[in-house]
């Protein structure tokens, strides 16, 4: 059953032009230069310091590192991060 779903979803994206982040429940990360990162569709905050932000996603984690981080907004599934971003890394499970 799960396998069918996994196969249907990419097919839906390709043939119906549905946004991939919604259909695949993947995080959408919007970066504005180095200063802002807007992460939607995350599954929870794991680590937050002024140098690191780690978020859980459906398949693994997203780790953002940099300096002087401030969470400008926190909504259940959205986070707006402000600071100096050095790198964004995906860490699989």
């Amino acid at each position: 059953m799960k396998k069918i779903q996994q196969r249907i979803r990419p097919w839906l994206i390709n043939n119906f032009a549905l946004p991939s982040d919604v259909v695949l429940e993947l995080p959408r990360i919007t970066l504005i230069g180095q200063i802002h990162a807007y992460i939607e569709n995350h599954k929870g905050l794991i680590v937050f310091t002024d140098k690191e932000l780690k978020l859980r996603t459906t398949k693994g984690y997203v780790q953002i590192t940099g300096s002087s981080f401030v969470l400008k907004t926190m909504l259940p599934e959205e986070i707006l991060l402000e600071g100096t971003i050095n790198d964004v890394r995906f860490i699989p499970d």
């Binding site: 969470l71 926190m74 259940p76």
Partner: protein, 409 residues
């Protein structure tokens, strides 16, 4: 960042969370729908962030289940500012008292200035004003309108010819003109007496001058009645170098006298056969309201009198703040009982009232010295419940007017 807007109005606090992985506390908050913003990690065990004032209860609820310590480190927004102001009761009290004081002082008469009249009359005016209740320290809205005061003053102080009353803020400016009893400006030089109206001479009293008319003569306006030239000769009409050389120089005097003539007036009046009168019985009650726009709040005089018909009279007095008039006003309403009276007249009565009315009107026109001798109804017609009368009225009056003799100088 929509939610951050307006947070200053509702107020927000910065909380400092202490404990193991404090950022997770904020994550919990946002999962519960509590708005959180500006989250910062201060140290590995401490994390601070902003929440709305109204969410504090929910935050405390969330805290209960977890092992975190929360302290409020900063309070911002109007609710806190207002609270801070109200905590200082002296300031609040002082503000209220000072506003009341200004209100109180702006509605008090401070000064009565009288100008343009001598001291003795000034004192008289002052006394009279005091009897009306106008003196420094009186409430402005209890006083009459300047126009009314003006009228009253002019009536009560006979020495005043005219008085102007002006209210400027909290000051009454009075400007008076003293009545200087001057004998009517007579033509002092040589003069004739001429007729002002057409009429038949009835009586003549000439104390100076040469009468030119006799009793029972008919005169037209402008006719010379009494001449000021005593030795009038026929050829004085041609003036020039010849007249100067004449030995008989005309002797001119100021003619004086009283010529009573019979004059007549035609007057038409209409008198309705039926008339409705409103009559005030003299019973009245006063009520006071505080008005704000259309809204009126009674402050004195409750309940309405059991009059059948009520005549209402409203006097509005605006309350002032410095020089500005506030939209608040004090309304004084006088409810007077009135009765309606219907009057029906017969034609005969209507004619009588018509004649009476016409006589009164005429007497006002021609002055009190004239006497109405007789009247006659020339024409009468009844139309639409009204009687129309054309009257012929005979009057005896003085028709003299002085006219200076032009000596050609």
């Amino acid at each position: 960042m929509k939610h951050v807007q307006g947070s200053y109005l509702t107020g927000y606090v910065t909380i400092l969370v202490k404990g193991n992985r404090p950022e997770l506390f904020f994550q919990d908050c946002s999962n519960q729908g509590v708005q959180v913003w500006n989250v910062q990690k201060v140290s590995p065990e401490q994390c601070k962030g902003n929440v709305l004032l109204r969410d504090i209860k929910r935050i405390k609820k969330i805290k209960r289940k977890r092992n975190y310590k929360i302290s409020f480190i900063n309070k911002k927004g109007y609710p806190f500012i207002i609270k801070r102001i109200f905590r200082k009761r002296e300031i609040v009290a002082a503000t209220i008292i000072s506003i009341l004081l200004i209100l109180f002082l702006s509605n008090i008469l401070w000064k009565v200035e009288i100008a343009g009249v001598p001291k003795d009359i000034e004192e008289k005016i002052d006394k009279q004003l005091k009897s009306y209740g106008i003196h420094p320290g009186a409430w402005l809205f209890t006083l009459d309108k300047p126009g009314v005061i003006q009228q009253k003053l002019a009536e009560d102080i006979p020495e005043l010819l005219w008085v102007g009353v002006n209210k400027k803020g909290t000051t009454f400016y009075l400007e008076g003109v003293e009545k200087i009893v001057v004998n009517e400006e007579e033509v002092v030089g040589p003069r004739h007496l001429v007729a002002t109206k057409k009429g038949v001479i009835k009586d003549m009293y000439v104390s100076k001058g040469l009468p030119k008319v006799a009793v029972n003569d008919y005169v037209e306006p402008g006719d010379i009645l009494v001449s000021g030239v005593l030795n009038e000769t026929e050829d004085t009409t041609t003036e020039g170098k010849d007249s100067k050389k004449k030995k008989a120089k005309p002797i001119v005097v100021a003619a004086e006298g009283e010529i009573i003539a019979n004059t007549w007036y035609e007057i038409s009046v209409t008198v309705p056969l039926e008339a409705n009168y409103e009559h005030l019985t003299g019973n009245h009650e006063k009520k006071y309201y505080v008005g704000f726009g259309d809204f009126q709040l009674p402050i004195w005089g409750f309940g309405s009198p059991d009059y059948e018909h009520i005549h209402r009279e409203n006097i509005d007095n605006n309350i002032k703040f410095f020089k500005w008039e506030l939209p608040v006003k004090i309304i004084e309403t006088t409810l007077s009982e009135k009765t309606y009276q219907e009057l029906e007249r017969t034609k005969e009565e209507a004619i009588q009232t018509g004649i009476k009315q016409a006589k009164q009107e005429l007497q006002l026109q021609i002055g009190p010295e004239a006497t109405i001798v007789s009247e006659k109804v020339l024409q009468q017609s009844t139309e639409n419940g009204k009687v129309k009368l054309d009257l012929y009225i005979n009057v005896e009056e003085d028709i003299v007017k002085a006219q200076p003799i032009n000596q050609g100088d």
